[in-house]
């Protein structure tokens, strides 16, 4: 029965499955509106956000999409700040041995002064389907963040603008995504973020979220996306150099997707 549902869900959302990247629970809890955020997990969607990291940082995340084991994603990310730029690497595995997608990325991010940073990411994608075969391809991402005035950032990001694809059949095209967004930090406690995302030849989405530091070590988060309508929530705990983040998203039809991550900053 579980298999049947797995396949059903897989068919239902195969379109969206392709567009899923695991953004890390902090960004996911804020409605996935992460384009103008500074965080290790921006490696996935606008790596310009890693230039604010001062120390080597790594993180591991796990997501169970719609609470179905076969639709889980595992991911690892590391950012290494060097003198003039920041290097990042990420790895992501989605699916089960029956159907598996792997994505490995290398990012190069550089800031120009305090207010402007930009990044380029190169990804290697692998797809394997049991009894069917393997295929692979490359894609790239590019983005920037700009601080217009204190604590107010705007950002833009493009993923796979050259529309690379696994094979020549159209249905295997990797999505081309464009995002623009902004974030603002009110006092030390409250962060608000929003973004508009357009999938090329696909849907337009508006996402927004907030993070509220209820105590120096505890942050609460919430967010919404409009198309499709989803609500997000989560929290983060900072203990010395260790970050523990949890997020859950609620899809009106498909249900809940929990996500957890642990991070360490040296």
């Amino acid at each position: 029965m579980i298999k049947f549902y797995t396949i059903l869900i897989f068919i239902l959302c195969s379109k969206t499955v392709f567009t899923q990247t695991l953004n890390g629970p902090r960004i996911q809890a804020m409605g996935n509106a992460g384009v103008a955020i500074q965080d290790i997990w921006t490696l996935k969607n606008n790596a310009a956000g890693i230039t604010s990291l001062e120390n080597i940082t790594f993180a591991l995340a796990y997501e169970n999409r719609f609470s179905v084991k076969e639709l889980s994603t595992k991911s690892a990310a590391i950012a290494i700040p060097l003198k003039k730029y920041t290097l990042g690497a990420s790895f992501q595995s989605y699916g089960s041995p029956v159907y598996q997608e792997l994505k490995s990325g290398l990012s190069f991010a550089k800031s120009f002064g305090e207010n402007f940073s930009t990044a380029l990411t190169l990804n290697y994608h692998q797809l394997s389907i049991q009894n069917y075969g393997n295929t692979n391809t490359f894609s790239f991402q590019v983005g920037f963040q700009y601080q217009i005035f204190k604590n107010f950032w705007i950002a833009a990001h493009a993923a796979n603008p050259n529309k690379s694809q696994y094979t020549e059949t159209e249905s295997n095209t990797l999505p081309a995504l464009y995002q623009i967004g902004a974030s603002y930090t009110f006092s030390d406690k409250l962060l608000l973020t929003s973004e508009v995302e357009q999938v090329l030849n696909g849907k337009l989405d508006f996402k927004t979220g907030l993070e509220y530091k209820i105590a120096p070590f505890l942050a609460l988060r919430g967010g919404t996306s409009v198309n499709t309508f989803q609500q997000f929530g989560g929290f983060g705990i900072l203990y010395q150099k260790i970050n523990l983040d949890f997020a859950i998203s609620s899809h009106p039809v498909l249900g809940y997707s929990p996500q957890i991550a642990v991070g360490y900053a040296f």
Binding site: K189, L190, G222, T224, F229
Partner: protein, 670 residues
């Protein structure tokens, strides 16, 4: 100031009311609220002695502000100067200004100076008589008795009489008498004499341990309204803070809604940190009933809440069943914590018949229902937590938990989660819900309010809801969501711009499908509103609105509705005459795209008409003070439809395309 305030439709109260009423799409009766605010306008509340529920009666204060004020007084002692209010978290200048219209820090409370001589000297009487009538003849008034068809037995006149006696803050006698259009005034049928609806109450406050005593008609509001809430309550709307309910406990019932109240005796007794409110009520309700073939007993098929008794059929259902309610509430208040327990039983003189459709098969049957509930609120730093758990004995539960947080001085948030089971019943249930009652629903609500100084305000919320069981015209479990946003820009005190957008998607049976089994489709409704208010000079101000609705089923094209109006308001500072007028144009493609708009009315009169079809509406509403203590109101309105030859249907039908109405009201204060 006191005299001045008595004479007019107080602009401050009108403003508060408009903000609230604008967000409700149904025709609520706000009499009780206006009366309450008018009362405090004349008899200011003493902030140093006010309790939480008294402060909650001032609807414009949010729970965090109330909590902070009470805490400030508990920690620092009595307020010595009103300027102190500025030092309390969450009190901006605008709130303080509004608050000081209804309160101060040293007005007398309690029967401190009571004597019978004072009662006569200080007591104030207030008598209002209102007459209203639709000028065109409606079909129901023109059917001969011999025809045997359903018809309106009474005259098309509506007569409403209202009397109040107040002694300071402590004693209030209320009497309301109402005869609706079509009802008979004097009839021996059903053993009723005089006006169709009579409601009276005697309310006494602060007699030693007895904080409140009500004899007659009363209302009860506890917690978040899942277990026990009667009378006025607000739904989701532009003002984020009025969504979480602020319970007022026991109140005299002074509204003219004929359904949602209790009749009997209730009191609130104070034991230090505990307040105990026992109550008992017996009244008769209107109901449709039918004979159960198996038991040969009469059963209730529906409760009728309109309070209209115009036709022989409506009269036959009048007061058909008896309802006995008894129970109590125990509330514990200590500083920032408040916990309440409610238990009551309602008994009916007949059984409720089981639902005969799949969607209502979990509804209540039987004649006796016991409800239990527990509610709490707690303030920690800048976060106000609230919730309620309710249980109907031998059936389901319902609960809600949420928080209001002031995240920064400019930004506040409201979140709550609710879960109401499909077999949770309460006949006094007004919990926050997307459906009309709080059952068969789960949902999560999140909203934000930005307030930057006095100039900018932005409200936004999203609500996701699920209905685990079928509903009327929804033959499967369904889901839906709503997004609301409103931006308000107030560059000057007298100028205001409002932009509003709202979208709601829900599932319904596919309309017009010819299949054996209904399947669902998504229905999307969107609203766009733009409004400007500005003052021409000290006496005249203008208000314009444009509103568009857009309605779409998956299977059909977009339908549109449009409403445009122009208001002129004349409110000179010191004149015997004031008034307002509106001309509106509407053009909507039917019922699904109808648009509601709040209208000014005579004092204590309310109208929020829904516009559909195509045409114009006009009204002129004025007040004239004959002499001190005697005021006169007149409202004339008409709606002219350009695409109709008859208006309305059934007994309400009017031949022709014009529907006009007149209301006249006189008030005598002595």
């Amino acid at each position: 100031m006191g005299v001045k305030a008595q004479q007019s439709n107080d602009p401050i109260i009108e403003y508060i009311l408009e903000v609230i009423a604008e967000n409700q799409s149904e025709d609520f009766d706000y009499t009780e609220l206006v009366e309450r605010l008018n009362f405090y306008r004349r008899n200011p509340l003493n902030l140093n002695k006010a309790s939480r529920d008294e402060l909650q009666e001032l609807v414009f204060l949010n729970p965090l502000q109330i909590s902070n004020l009470l805490d400030h007084i508990a920690v620092n002692g009595k307020l010595i100067d009103v300027l102190e209010l500025q030092s309390i978290d969450g009190f901006d200048l605008q709130t303080i200004r509004t608050l000081l219209n209804f309160s101060n820090i040293n007005s007398p409370t309690g029967f401190e100076n009571f004597s019978w001589a004072n009662l006569r000297k200080e007591g104030r009487s207030d008598l209002i008589v209102r007459y209203g009538r639709i000028l065109e003849e409606q079909a129901g008034f023109n059917i001969p008795e011999e025809s045997g068809r359903s018809r309106y037995l009474g005259t098309p006149d509506r007569v409403f009489t209202r009397y109040r006696f107040n002694y300071l803050n402590n004693l209030q006698f209320s009497l309301n008498m109402d005869k609706d259009a079509g009802e008979q005034f004097w009839t021996t049928q059903n053993r009723t004499l005089g006006p169709d609806f009579v409601s009276a109450s005697l309310y006494v406050k602060d007699v030693s341990r007895f904080k409140k005593i009500v004899l007659g008609d009363f209302s009860l509001q506890f917690g978040q309204g899942l277990t026990l809430w009667s009378g006025l309550s607000f739904g989701k709307g532009a003002d984020l803070f009025s969504i979480a309910k602020q319970d007022l406990g026991l109140r005299p019932y002074t509204s003219i809604n004929e359904f949602s109240f209790f009749r009997g005796f209730a009191t609130q007794i104070n034991f230090g940190k505990f307040d105990f409110t026992p109550f008992i009520s017996f009244r008769r309700l209107d109901a449709g009933s039918s004979l159960n073939a198996a038991t040969n007993l009469s059963e209730i098929t529906s409760l009728q809440i309109s309070g209209l008794h115009r036709t022989p059929n409506e009269l036959a259902n009048k007061n058909r069943i008896g309802q006995l309610v008894l129970g109590g509430n125990l509330q514990y208040n200590h500083r920032k914590l408040s916990v309440g327990l409610t238990a009551y039983q309602s008994n009916y003189s007949e059984n409720f018949a089981p639902g005969n459709a799949v969607y209502n098969q979990f509804e209540f049957t039987g004649r006796k229902l016991t409800n239990l509930g527990a509610n709490y609120s707690y303030t920690v730093n800048n976060i106000y937590l609230f919730g309620e758990l309710a249980h109907s004995v031998n059936s389901g539960i319902a609960f809600i938990n949420g928080a209001i947080a002031s995240l920064t001085p400019q930004i506040s948030a409201l979140v709550f989660h609710r879960n109401y089971q499909k077999d949770y019943y309460s006949y006094f249930n007004q919990g926050i819900s997307e459906g009309s009652l709080a059952f068969n629903e789960r949902g999560f609500f999140g909203g934000l309010q930005f307030k930057s100084g006095k100039k900018y305000e932005f409200n936004v919320y999203t609500d996701l809801f699920k209905f685990p069981w079928l509903r009327f015209r929804v033959d499967a479990p369904s889901v839906g969501h709503e997004l609301f946003s409103q931006f308000t820009y107030t560059p000057k005190r007298t100028t205001k711009f409002i932009l509003r957008y709202r979208i709601e998607e829900k599932q319904q049976n596919i309309s017009g499908a010819n299949t054996a089994i209904n399947t669902l489709e998504t229905v999307r409704r969107q609203n766009y509103r733009f409004e400007i208010q500005y003052a021409l000079n000290k006496s005249f101000s203008l208000r314009n609105r444009a509103e568009v609705t857009q309605f779409k089923r998956e299977s059909t094209q977009n339908n549109y509705g449009l409403l445009l109006y122009q208001d002129v308001l004349y409110n000179p500072l010191s004149s015997k005459l004031s008034g307002n007028a509106r001309i509106a144009y509407f053009n909507t493609e039917g019922f699904d795209t109808r648009i509601y708009a709040y209208e000014n009315d005579v004092l204590y009169g309310f109208s929020i008409p829904g516009f559909q079809n195509k045409g114009f509406r006009f009204y002129l509403n004025g007040r004239y003070t004959l002499k001190r203590g005697i005021d006169f109101w007149l409202k004339y309105s008409f709606t002219h439809y350009t695409d109709l030859e008859t208006i309305g249907s059934g007994l309400d039908q009017i031949d022709g395309n014009l529907r006009s109405e007149i209301r006249a009201q006189i008030r005598y204060q002595f």
